[in-house]
């Protein structure tokens, strides 16, 4: 593009001309497998991560299928107890360490953070590529452990079972988790430095998209939490190999110490998983309701609040594990604090919809699904943070249902919302609108059918990780498995229509959703260095009401019904509905 085009785009308000189909972009600037394996382009690395984690999502999904099918019968329908134990461990390890943790930070974060803050790349492109290789090495190690005999400790790896009793491949399994932890640290470090040092002119902290804020909080957790699990796994691994170690009760060691160290990481790790989803939702809800986010600062700082307070409440996983009574009181109190920023976010999202102009394309359906499911996931967490109720609900299916509501209902929905929202940007193609709406609806319905029965089971005391259970629980397990098959179908659909869109989808315009973020300024797919010019940001991220993007340029006409008579969306800041004509309303 030339200077003239930029000027034209700014001065007169029509959107910039669409890129020619053959415009050089990050996908076609060179070809061949080698160009991908040696790339330092953050966008290509994001795609590499996308492909890798999709494989682990499928792997973890197969393990989940084994688990749920086996639970059809109260004595185990298809596999032995041993195989079941390995299946649920494989499900946990693959889904948590190799899908959920890298999902949004490493795929969408990698791809979008530099574009959203107007940078050409992440601060350390080579480190970024290295993080992918490290991730693959760790994942390969754990996958080998799972396939060659399996791990039977559960993903929580509690000693002394994991150090002394288990006959399974614990050491290669945790070695893989340990290695991939470095990948997580590298990604987090890269994103944090990038956000600090690479923002384009005008991109102040108060103008950062909320997705960037949430990933900043995520990265903070990755940086400060992951090393603790690393050292914990070293301690546990050496104890298993050498036969003597600091968790060994026979020499005065305390097995609970492992749990403390483990949850010091693994509780904040659930915020690694949910925070980016919250960031995606903030982007999508504003775009599809054509509104400024309600309470930008509240939402941004609540991300940071979750990231910091999230480190101070890990022992609510250990209320009945034998920790001190006073410590339990303290951790329960602190756990209540983290519920507050989550509540703030939900209220602000809801308020954002107020007086919007809402359309329901797939990203919006997923985002609304996120909020609906996250509300249940979050509120049921209160039962587990409350001491008196946790005694009974701890380690039952109530816990399983709760964290699936947060992790799958929350994070996976958020990930899908983000994937659908930015898919045109990443691939330059539009996917099937109808099928994507169908998929979103099926996933939400299937999700409820799968996990609501599990709340009932947990309330009645069915322990988790049990292939054999009391016969009276069977009917709910059958209901849950039936729901899971619907859910599984729902997850297959995006795999189909997204893949097909690569070949048959309509070409996407630069800004198909008429969104305001800097990433939409670039072409779809973006050029190698993201921007033809260094962007200068003049306003906050969600000026949908005025109808300008962060460069102050007018937005293209938003898709969806009723868009034809939306003057604000076409005329830009100087148009008839531009900021000069518009009163800012502050309710309340």
């Amino acid at each position: 593009m030339s200077i003239a085009v930029i000027h034209g785009g700014l001065a007169a308000s029509p959107p910039p001309p669409e890129p020619e189909p053959a415009t050089p972009n990050y996908l076609n600037n060179n070809y061949g497998i080698w160009s991908w394996l040696t790339t330092v382009d953050h966008k290509r690395i994001g795609i590499l991560y996308l492909i890798s984690i999709s494989i682990f999502f499928i792997g973890g999904g197969i393990a989940a299928g084994v688990v749920r099918t086996n639970l059809l019968s109260s004595t185990g329908a298809i596999v032995t107890e041993d195989a079941y134990n390995r299946a649920f461990t494989a499900h946990g390890v693959l889904m948590l360490f190799f899908f959920l943790i890298p999902a949004v930070p490493a795929v969408l974060g990698n791809f979008l953070i530099p574009m959203m803050i107007g940078a050409k790349d992440l601060a350390f492109p080579k480190l970024n590529l290295a993080s992918w290789y490290v991730f693959i090495a760790g994942a390969a190690c754990s996958t080998w452990a799972i396939l060659a005999g399996g791990i039977d400790t559960g993903w929580t790896l509690y000693p002394p079972y994991s150090t002394r009793a288990s006959q399974a491949n614990v050491v290669p399994g945790i070695l893989g988790v340990f290695i991939s932890g470095f990948s997580s640290i590298m990604t987090g470090l890269n994103i944090m430095v990038t956000v600090h040092k690479m923002r384009c002119p005008g991109m102040t902290w108060g103008r950062l998209p909320l997705f960037v804020w949430s990933l900043y909080g995520t990265s903070l957790i990755q940086l400060l939490g992951t090393p603790v699990i690393a050292v914990t796994l070293i301690l546990m691994g050496t104890e298993r190999i050498s036969g003597v170690g600091i968790f060994d009760p026979s020499i005065g060691g305390d097995p609970l110490l492992f749990q403390h160290l483990f949850w010091f990481y693994s509780h904040p790790a659930v915020y690694i998983m949910i925070l980016p989803g919250m960031g995606v939702v903030s982007e999508v809800l504003t775009c599809f309701s054509r509104k400024n986010i309600f309470g930008y600062h509240a939402v941004a700082w609540s991300s940071m609040g979750i990231a910091v307070v999230g480190f101070m409440l890990w022992a609510h996983h250990m209320f009945v594990a034998g920790i001190s009574f006073y410590s339990a009181l303290l951790f329960s109190f602190l756990s209540m604090l983290v519920a507050v920023p989550s509540a703030i976010k939900v209220f602000n999202w809801t308020a954002t919809l107020y007086r919007g102009s809402i359309t329901f394309q797939a990203p919006m359906l997923f985002a609304l699904g996120f909020v609906v499911l996250f509300v249940i996931g979050g509120l049921t967490g209160l039962f587990l943070a409350t001491l008196g109720t946790d005694i009974h609900l701890h380690d039952t299916y109530f816990v399983v249902a709760h964290f699936h509501f947060v992790m799958v209902g929350g994070m996976v929905m958020g990930y899908f919302a983000g994937l659908h929202f930015w898919w045109p940007k990443m691939t330059g193609r539009m996917y099937s609108d109808w099928w994507s709406r169908v998929a979103a609806s099926i996933i939400i319905v299937g999700f409820f059918l799968t996990f609501i029965p599990q709340f009932i089971l947990g309330y009645h005391g069915m322990p988790r990780r049990s292939p054999n259970y009391a016969p009276e629980f069977q009917i709910y397990n059958v209901m849950s498995t039936a729901g899971a098959s619907i859910l599984g179908l729902g997850y297959l659909l995006p795999a189909c229509y997204l893949s097909l869109s690569l070949f048959f989808g309509d070409r996407a315009t630069a800004n198909p959703w008429s969104a305001t973020g800097l990433e939409w300024v670039s072409a779809s797919p973006p050029t190698v260095f993201n921007f033809e010019f260094t962007p200068v940001v003049v306003c906050g991220p969600y000026e949908y009401a005025i109808g300008v993007d962060q460069l102050g340029r007018g937005l293209p006409e938003p898709p969806g019904p009723g868009s034809a008579d939306d003057p604000a969306s076409r005329d830009g800041p100087t148009g008839p509905a531009g900021p000069m004509k518009k009163e800012t309303e502050v309710v309340g």
Binding site: A11, G202, G206, S324, S327, F533, V538, G540, M580
Partner: protein
């Protein structure tokens, strides 16, 4: 190419559209953000001419070395003599002083990059979380038995 891009930006600023936007568009109050750095000002990227910063003087380098070595010697000496139950506290205090000297002078914390200092403080704060909450369990556990 970078030259062209820069020219572009200058042109953008010159066309003055940014100034035409009403101030209320800008939700941000940059001064409210303690973490904002000069790099983010809309004027232009800071191009520090003295990006090499200050060069350490040999006297400072050697002075810190002598202080750290002396403190180590003191630590070893005191420990061999022993002074009861405060030994550990004093030993760790000396260790902290040494680490402080190293990080302030040799690791250039004194150059005062705010984010770097914040990073250092954050690591200590998080270490504090770990210690305090660990101890909340381990130091009170004996109190509940029975």
């Amino acid at each position: 190419m970078p030259q062209a891009a820069r020219g572009c930006r200058t042109g953008f600023a010159a066309c003055g559209i940014a100034n035409k936007l009403p101030t209320n568009i800008d939700q941000a109050e940059p001064e409210n953000f303690t973490m904002s750095d000069p790099h983010a000002t809309p004027v232009a990227t800071t191009s520090t001419t003295d990006h090499l910063g200050e060069t350490d003087s040999p006297a400072m380098i050697v002075g810190v070395f002598l202080a750290v070595v002396l403190l180590s010697a003191a630590n070893i000496g005191l420990s061999i003599v022993g002074f009861g139950k405060y030994t550990l506290v004093v030993q760790l205090a000396i260790g902290t002083m040494q680490a402080g000297l190293v990080s302030f002078y040799w690791m250039h914390l004194r150059q005062g990059d705010k984010v770097v200092i914040l990073t250092g403080l954050a690591s200590i704060f998080w270490m504090g979380i770990l210690f305090v909450l660990f101890m909340s369990d381990y130091m009170t556990r004996i109190m509940v038995i029975g």
